[in-house]
Amino acid sequence: MIHDAACPEALSPPTIAVERHGVFFTSAQWAPESLERLADHLDRVGARALDRLDPARLLDAWSRTVGRFRDPASAESEALRPVLTRFCALSGGGLDAALDAVLGGVDRAAAGRLFTEARNREATRPRPASRKRGRLVAVVLAGNLPALAVQSLLPALARRRPVLLKSPTSEPLFAPAFVRALVRAEPALEAALAAVTWRGGDRALEAPVLERAGTVLAYGDRPAVDSISERTAGKCVVYGPKASLAVISRQADRVRAAVGLARDVALFDQRGCLSIQAVYTDGDSRALATALAAELAERAASWPAGPLDPTRVAAVQQLRLEARMRGLYQPALPLASGTVVVDPIPQFRPSPGLRTVRIHALQDLAEVVPRLAAWQGRLQGAALAGGPAWELESVLSELGISRCAKPGSLQSPDALWHNGGLHPFDALGASSQDAEP
């Protein structure tokens, strides 16, 4: 039976059987007291266990675990993937691609680089010996993307910080499955890691965890992260909602750009903060739209969209009809494959999802900067193609864009990515920060 918690057995609370999306699993019933015991155990016992653990062994256990979750034929994958497709509303192909993108960013090579940097940091800035409490990192996860837990788990482990992962109730199963597999690979981690879930916003339930944690990383929508932030002054880092875009120079190879853009649009069904929602170009916008539509159609064959949410479909229908009324160029595409519209209004507008992209033609690529100014601090990434597009990297960075990459790579950051402009180790620092500049 699948379980929605992974924690030391002695600290596990009573469970009940639950059915959701046709999946039966057991759900741990947490109370403030049991969460307080768990947080205390992780912070005291778990921190000591991590101090004793050879980093090379930890890195090896991590790498083997990631490898098992990337391997579709592993026992872990066979048990979890059919379940995740339902909870994450992705197709099988879409889920495989999503997992590969996320887990590929924390593979042995990437994790090794992070561990090396952690070692260097410890050599230059050793942890104060007096710090015996408050090493626990509490991570409040969002539910729109699968496997995101690994992005915060790895840096914390590299810095030998015990971790409590709080999964969203909408997808409570990946994190505990990953933690259990990691503990199987390295049993010494059992005292230092937990993955649990409860309905977010229960202040009484959350109080002991938020109080005990030395660092809180909060992912989620604005009200959720604001609520956590106000209760964790001085130690919370917020990863709130953001949007991404592309800038394609006329000098870029159009077909190659379209192939990459299609990947960056379709991956995660356009639900990630690095998912491209708009494209700016000084080249032939209609030709780029045609090429992108063709590539989206290709992607839809290999990564079909997940089940279509009627309310999201409604928003896309609005956009399609409105574009027809304005006589805008809109290559024919089935709704589930995506929507591409060439829109002469260059104002950045977030896409309603379902792989929907507006392409805006500019005379000069530098015009993109004032078009995005109103979104400063709420932009995450930019896919750039062609020399003139890359010349904008520094000004885009000033708008708060934390990742620039060539089309096709935007959604595959590795473990050293400064999400929100913050180094993953700095996010674990004691002072409170918002990852939105």
């Binding site: 999201r312 229908q317 009324m325 977030p350």
Partner: protein, 345 residues
């Protein structure tokens, strides 16, 4: 003039029938609205080939954010309220008298019943404070037409003026005159929160009622509807059966009222000058009876801008009316996180 004949139809005067007026409205739009004509041309449709109102091309509500859809010189401009950074819908309205005719034909029947010029308390900003609000336009007309002595508006740019509201409520408790409260859901929550904070309750006279509209769009504080209804009974003595909900939008001229006594929560009645369709979200073809889908509204009173409107709301056709079951997801930022309230459609 077509708008005048539609106003007569709305008022229940005999004359043209719905289908004839719908055909003329389409012809008017075909002539004066290039965006509509573009859609019609793509469908091979002209006023001569139109067979029934269902064929009239759908106009998405989103179009009100990017286009001026008026078929005549606008005399009122209504703008939707919304969230920070959101693009508002703008309804360039050429026929405000038609809007008044709609209010006259619906509001008294839905709200007043046997009350004659009751004192009204409006928690909706006045036209002076919100000159581009279609709701403020409506409430101004309601107050001018049916409000009795002692009526007042207690909302301003800063929200509900609680002291003035308390004075009104205390006066009605004393003089025992049934009252009508006109408000958005959000303003009601503001009022209730004030009364909660002061631990103050009123027992408004039997027959008092609430007109509630608007929801919480763009607001950070929400209260579940059952909680709101319970709070209204607790703090004002108005039972849930006396709370009438209005469904309307800036993009429409007509609006729809719930009938709380008929035991069908969320059910809205459709007036004779309106037709509705429930459409499959993917194909935009009509669903079978009882199935949910996107709500499309054909509103003769919207002859000044868009007569056949595709909304973003999900509904089920129900006994000549409809039941709302969901709102569409608007464009939002995605933050390796869930939905945001920071809309930017």
């Amino acid at each position: 003039m077509l708008s005048e004949r539609i106003a007569a139809f709305v008022a229940g005067e005999t004359g043209d029938g719905f289908d004839a007026l719908a055909g003329e409205a389409f012809a008017l739009h075909f002539e004066h609205s290039p965006p509509l004509r573009r859609l019609a041309a793509a469908a091979g449709l002209t006023p001569e080939t139109l067979e029934n109102w269902r064929q009239v091309p759908l106009i998405p509500t989103l179009a009100f954010k990017t286009m001026k859809l008026a078929v005549a010189e606008p005399r009122e401009i209504f703008r939707s309220s919304g969230t920070t950074n959101a693009t508002p819908s703008v309804h360039h309205h050429p026929y405000p008298e038609l809007y008044r005719a709609v209010i006259d034909a619906t509001f008294p029947r839905a709200l007043l019943g046997n009350l004659s010029r009751p004192p009204m308390l409006s928690l909706v900003p006045s036209r002076e404070d919100a000159p581009e609000s279609s709701l403020a336009f409506m409430i101004e007309h309601v107050l001018a037409s049916w409000a009795g002595e002692g009526s007042r508006t207690v909302a301003g740019p800063g929200g509900v003026k609680a002291r003035s509201a308390r004075g009104f409520l205390a006066a009605r408790q004393r003089d025992r005159r049934p009252t009508v409260l006109l408000s958005t859901a959000f303003a009601l929550v503001q009022l209730i929160e004030t009364l909660d904070r002061l631990q103050l309750s009123f027992r408004l006279p039997v027959g008092s009622r609430v007109f509630e509209t608007g929801g919480y769009k763009g607001k950070s504080r929400e209260l579940d509807r059952p909680e709101l209804l319970a709070a209204l009974e607790r703090r004002l003595g108005i039972p849930p059966t006396m709370v009438v909900t209005e469904y309307g939008m800036t993009e429409l001229t007509s609006h729809f009222y719930s009938s709380p006594r008929d035991q069908r929560p969320g059910h809205f009645a459709v007036p004779p000058w309106v037709r509705l369709r429930v459409l499959d979200p993917e194909t935009l073809s009509e669903v079978r009876d009882g199935e949910s889908g996107l709500l499309a509204i054909f509103d003769l009173a919207n002859v000044g801008s868009a007569i056949h409107l595709l909304t973003e709301d999900v509904a089920i056709a129900d006994d000549g009316g409809f039941r709302l079951v969901g709102r569409a997801a608007s464009a939002e930022l995605r933050g390796c996180s869930l939905l945001s309230e920071e809309l930017a459609g």
